[in-house]
Amino acid sequence: MITLESKAPAGKLQDKWTTHKFNMKLVNPANKRKYDVIVVGTGLAGASASATLAELGYNVKTFCYQDSPRRAHSIAAQGGINAAKNYQNDGDSIFRLFYDTIKGGDYRAREANVYRLAEVANNIIDQCVAQGVPFAREYGGLLDNRSFGGAQVSRTFYARGQTGQQLLLGAYSALNRQIGLGKVKMFPRREMLDLVVVDGQARGIVVRNLITGEIEKYSAHAVVLATGGYGNVYFLSTNAMNSNATAVWRAHKKGALFANPCFTQIHPTCIPVHGEYQSKLTLMSESLRNDGRVWVPKKAGDKRPANQIPEAERDYFLERKYPSFGNLVPRDVASRNAKEQCDAGKGVGDTGLAVYLDFADAIKRLGRKAIDEKYGNLFQMYQMITNEDPYEVPMRIYPAIHYTMGGLWVDYNLMSSIPGLFVLGEANFSDHGANRLGASALMQGLADGYFVIPYTLGNYLASNKFSQVSSDHAAFSDVENGIRGFVERLLSVKGNKTVDEIHRELGKVMWSHVGMARNAEGLKTAITQIGKLREEFWSNVNVTGSAGDLNQTLERAGRVADYLELGELMARDALHRNESCGGHFREEYQTEENEAKRDDENFSYVAAWEFNRVGDWTLHKENLVFENVKPSQRSYK
């Protein structure tokens, strides 16, 4: 029986991390080089962790599926990163950042974790500046800030519309330095396909070399997963095409609990879907809501072009419904409202599945140049994709899957339920509860990698005994054989459907029933349909090419096989959670004003699922205790 201990230290909220840091064991500098650590993933979380652990002296082996660590999906983050520097003198503080984040998450996150996140956020900004990250600056030479959803202070640091890129290149540069020094051994174009557990401890991984197709085994004293989110279950999402759940899912199947899988974030401002061939969705950064105003025509079915709809006949619904936060309400709220308007027939564009994001006022007020400076690359990207000029006509936007709050369950030390398996960044479930605020994923990834894991991993290594385990150990060959069998099975189906066809169908099921609004009946339908799709996949998929070669179809097939299992768990989790909170909106549970209605009495817990076999999971609960904030109905009015 698994017991879920958060391991959050006792004491005052403000002192927990400091006390914990003091209480944790240290590894003597000379001994650090005797420990091997595997890090999977080179996004913000993985790159920062690899670099920092190597700086401390550990031998790090780092893996990513791309040809370069710099291409991890974090590179695509646009808008910014939060910190409570209060440089703007607008009343920010660590406590306020903590409060906003936990409230934004609809009170479904652990207080201690979120507070620690807010606490180290300031160090992140310092660290990045020291690395040479070219954040936006004011004329006086000091750092500039912008506002993001769910906050009434300006605390978001940014580098044009490429914040994720610049932060990742910073972490990548630190990683490169360690690779150059020989402390990190970098393994690009490797996909982790399984975890190796020896004597109950995570001791290694098995990967596929994506160029040669060889199955390779690597051992270590601890394994860190920083493999990002699982938004691609939905086929269409803002995630990179190859972002996947394989690493966390295979770890889950080895015993790591999966927490809150149904907490997915739908981002309100994405470029709408325009065709069946579409391969992914493109995000328009939340920062645009600083200056853009969201509206639809007041009259349903009004198909006039935007500029022919007079002011009086426009409904700026966010400003109307939420006067104090206006266009900057959190994402879940903005998304749901957009959907509501479209459901009411007020959607715009060919498909009617879009609302306007209008910059006309901002351009009038600030001038085109100022807007260009702030959002130039986003406007350009919009025009490239839609062939419309957002300086002239309002953008059309629609919500899309963007981020997954759920992930592998971890304790305060970021260790999963498998000893020695740590999970960082979007891959874990830890800090965002049921909804993540903008600009806080970057913050979390770097907090985990730069400032948390170096301490907690050391503590783990110092407090445990390790038997001699190399990749020749029998456990490794067992796992390897399993993988070979799996790959062979995929290649031998030789059916009639392509991997993408089945993935696309799964995406439709997920979006219709486990998307922005869910209900019990739809979720049950989803579970059945996913089961069927899974059967179809294993009896009718066609994976071309061979195992011993660069084979992108095979790569995708393995990932889709996992989505077909994970999708079901997401639906089951959504079905069991009979409340609405954050990104999880159950139509049966809403207030009279159609806002999410939480049920703190029955659902104030983290749902952590234990894998028994495909289609069968056991639920474990970690109760959430709120000592410092009082969960209340979220209001952004």
Partner: protein
């Protein structure tokens, strides 16, 4: 605005690093002008798979023009005909019905082909590992606002830092030179006070490794700047030339 295209594609197919590649001709029909170039290739690949043939391998990930994974030479131009665009952001509305499109991989000694349209860009990694960083560890750094940096300088640094490492500069250069890529990092860091501290060591180390990897030299044709999807200026190359010159004259080491 949207319409449909029928196209002839001539695509480079090469089984692996050592095999000899050749062009294969394919036809695709009914491609929406709103589709992206890679979505057009997706459609081709779906068709190939249905016919039990191996799909065309090409690198891609973000499909938002930022990860730098994608990169095809389309009718002789890296990332295709539109300025300031990556292959993944190129849309089919820029082609005409009936067009023949020739698709090749980046070609350079330093970027050997791995399969079809995928090349090995690990040479870029080695250059970055040699010096593309500020040598500081995590922790112990000053407050972010401790050193003011003028907006102008921060902007120049950002212009250089916008490089996505796709390799189009090498692909476009008649000498397959990596100068724009390397200089983007050198210039980014050399402009900032944080990077100035070890500017000489950095530029010397990065140029040394660049030279060892088989890239050509810059002859200032500026094709790189024209094809760079992020429109990085050759002014950064001049900056690197200056930095290296200064390093050779002033640095006390005798390397």
């Amino acid at each position: 605005m949207s319409g449909n295209l029928n196209l002839t594609l001539k695509i480079w197919r090469q089984a692996n690093r050592t095999s000899i590649g050749k062009f294969e001709t394919y036809k695709v029909s009914n491609i929406s002008t709103d589709a992206s170039f890679l979505e057009m290739l997706d459609i081709l690949n779906e068709e190939l798979q249905r016919k039990n043939q191996e799909p065309v391998a090409f690198d891609h990930d973000c499909r938002e023009g930022i990860c730098g994974a994608c990169g095809l030479v389309i009718n002789g131009r890296p990332h295709g005909p539109i300025k300031g665009t990556t292959t993944c952001q190129l849309h089919m509305r820029h082609f005409k019905d009936g067009d023949t499109i020739v698709i090749e991989p980046w070609r350079a000694k330093a970027f050997p082909v791995i399969k079809d349209l995928i090349v090995d860009r690990s040479a870029f990694e080695k250059i970055q590992q040699a010096g593309g960083f500020v040598s500081i560890n995590t922790g112990g750094v000053p407050d972010a606002n401790a050193i003011p940096i003028s907006k102008e300088i921060a902007n120049i640094a950002m212009d250089a830092a916008a490089c996505i490492g796709c390799g189009a500069c090498v692909a476009a250069c008649k000498n397959a030179s990596a100068m724009l890529f390397v200089s983007a990092k050198v210039s980014h860091l050399a402009h900032l006070p944080q990077g100035k501290v070890e500017r000489f060591e950095r530029v010397e180390a990065m140029v040394k490794v660049m030279d060892e990897l088989g890239f050509g030299s810059c002859t200032n044709t500026y094709a790189c700047e024209a094809e760079c999807p992020k429109e990085i200026s050759v002014r950064h190359i001049a900056k690197m030339n200056r930095e290296y010159f200064a390093a050779k004259l002033k640095a006390r080491n005798k390397d």
